[in-house]
Amino acid sequence: MFSKILIANRGEIALRIIRAAKELGIKTVAVYSEPDRESLHTLLADERVCIGPAPASESYLNIPNIISAAEITKAEAIHPGYGFLAENPRFAEICEAEGLVFIGPPASIIKLMGDKNQARQEMKKAKLPIIPGSQNVIEDFQEAKKLAQKIGYPIILKAASGGGGKGMRIVTSPRQLEEQFSIAQSEAQAAFGNPALYLEKFLVSARHIEIQIVADKHGRVLALEERECSIQRKHQKLIEESPSPFLQAKTRKRMLRAAEEAAKAIGYQSLGTFEFLVDQDQKFYFMEANTRIQVEHPVTEMQYNLDLIKEQIRLASGEKLSLSPSQLPQGHSLECRINAEDPHNFVPSPGKIDFLVFPGGPGVRVDSAAYSGWTVPPYYDSLLAKIIVHAPTRQEAITKMYTALETMTIVGIKTNLPLHLKILSSTDFLSGRYDIQFLERFLAQGKAPQPKKA
């Protein structure tokens, strides 16, 4: 086991890693940018090294300074957390070259999964279903019709040069395809100067569901039950839960086995997450794999009563998987991400926290580096705290979360607490009927908290 590690991150995840390392008897080195001098990760680590000014590009992404910080403090390994350098294969390579253990998968796996298209093709070979569609652009209606027939309606036409939802048309029948294909081409030409289209199966009421993979360096791989992450806005997850209120037992079983087999096929090591879309018929499709710890990992920890960060560090040091496939998840867990942002327009709200009271009591977990009197710097992401609850049933977990957030107080900056309370008390959320479009619809319907009238 390592005797000292450096944490190349900040905020709640850096603090989470510091605590896990301390519990393992490992000394910790924090790195920090100048405005993070009074951040909790800086203050609570055993040692600390300033690695640059505010901009992440000059501090938390400054590879030479981070590597040097590890060298001058004689750290043996680097934990990258999530974000920043966590999925940068070059950083993992440099760590290896400098004789530092990168706490994560080998650079080759990070690189493979980093190219999302290549990853999908690779995972298809490893027998993971991917969303059926054209691998290349389609320029001819007949070709489109043949492919659509093959993969089944509804399908979606996407402008090859498009993005952000523009130039997309959902088609439900061959006749509609005949009409829409040329319109979509003209639209793509007009919008992007290129008529080329992709064709893909359209997933009705899709869910974002992911599987946690834990793998050691000795070929053992274990898949842990899913996290349901469909409550999201612009791909930013807001609430995660486990188990999914939607997934059937047999689908879960198939997803777990498929993810485990795929991870084995590519020789996965360390922690990773396989993200899937699941359609209303419980068909699942691989989207991408994240080769790092996820923000929402506590949901799985609560279900299995385990510590994924400790396990990740142990695995990096060469230890065998300590988890057993016989360990079963229990009850229900929820995580709410409390962001420093205006709940009406999602504009970040950095600044001084004048007053802060976290929730507590049984079944309530707080992962946060925020404190009363701390100034949230404007340079980094707005995640302020993760509140995680665990209870025997989904209903009890939701009530517990609602109570926890209701009695949580932050004064001085704006947060999305009111939005969470609205979602948690909405009929659709309570009944578990939501898909990845839910939050956008919910916000569009004006269900988001309205600014108070003066």
């Binding site: 600390r48 090294v49 300033c50 640059g52 300074n65 590597i67 040097s68």
Partner: protein, 156 residues
């Protein structure tokens, strides 16, 4: 301003202080001296005053870096480290140091080397002056922004 400063003028001063978010103002002219201190709104963090009650208190690898806003005393100019690494006063162990206290240094003159990722980075002076103090010992680690040399500027 002579001795005939009146209430109106002080009021203007104080308003200015507030407007410009100054916290302190001092003026001294021919026997006349005025000092204003405005309340600082952000209370300084108390964390550093009493760290966690750990029986093994945190031991930073080097003295805590000075606050960047610290006022340079006696108009000294500080050369700070632009990177994390190991500080060397000489190009190699058998050579004499680049500079000693009291030396006059020119702009762009090499003051030390910082080794980072096995590369030797020469750190130059960005000012002409006299080396007043060398703040890091040879072979010691330095972090970003850490003060290395105090230089007394020479009026050019």
């Amino acid at each position: 301003m002579k001795s005939k400063i009146d209430y109106q003028e002080i009021l203007k001063l104080i308003n200015l202080l507030e407007e410009k978010k100054l916290t302190e103002f001092e003026l001294e002219i021919e026997g006349f001296r005025i000092k204003l201190v405005r309340e600082q709104s952000p209370r300084p963090s108390l964390v550093r005053e009493q760290p966690s009650p750990s029986p093994s208190p945190p031991t930073p690898p080097q003295p805590a870096p000075p606050l960047s806003k610290e006022k340079a005393k006696n108009n000294l100019h500080y050369i700070t480290s632009p990177m994390v690494g190991t500080f060397y006063r000489a190009p190699n162990p058998s050579s004499p140091p680049f500079v000693e206290i009291g030396d006059k240094v020119k702009k762009h003159q090499t003051l030390c080397i910082i080794e980072a990722m096995k590369l030797m980075n020469e750190i130059e002076s960005d000012i002409e002056g006299l080396v007043e103090e060398i703040l890091v010992k040879n072979g010691k680690p330095v972090e970003f922004g850490q003060k290395l040399f105090a230089i007394k500027p020479l009026s050019s």
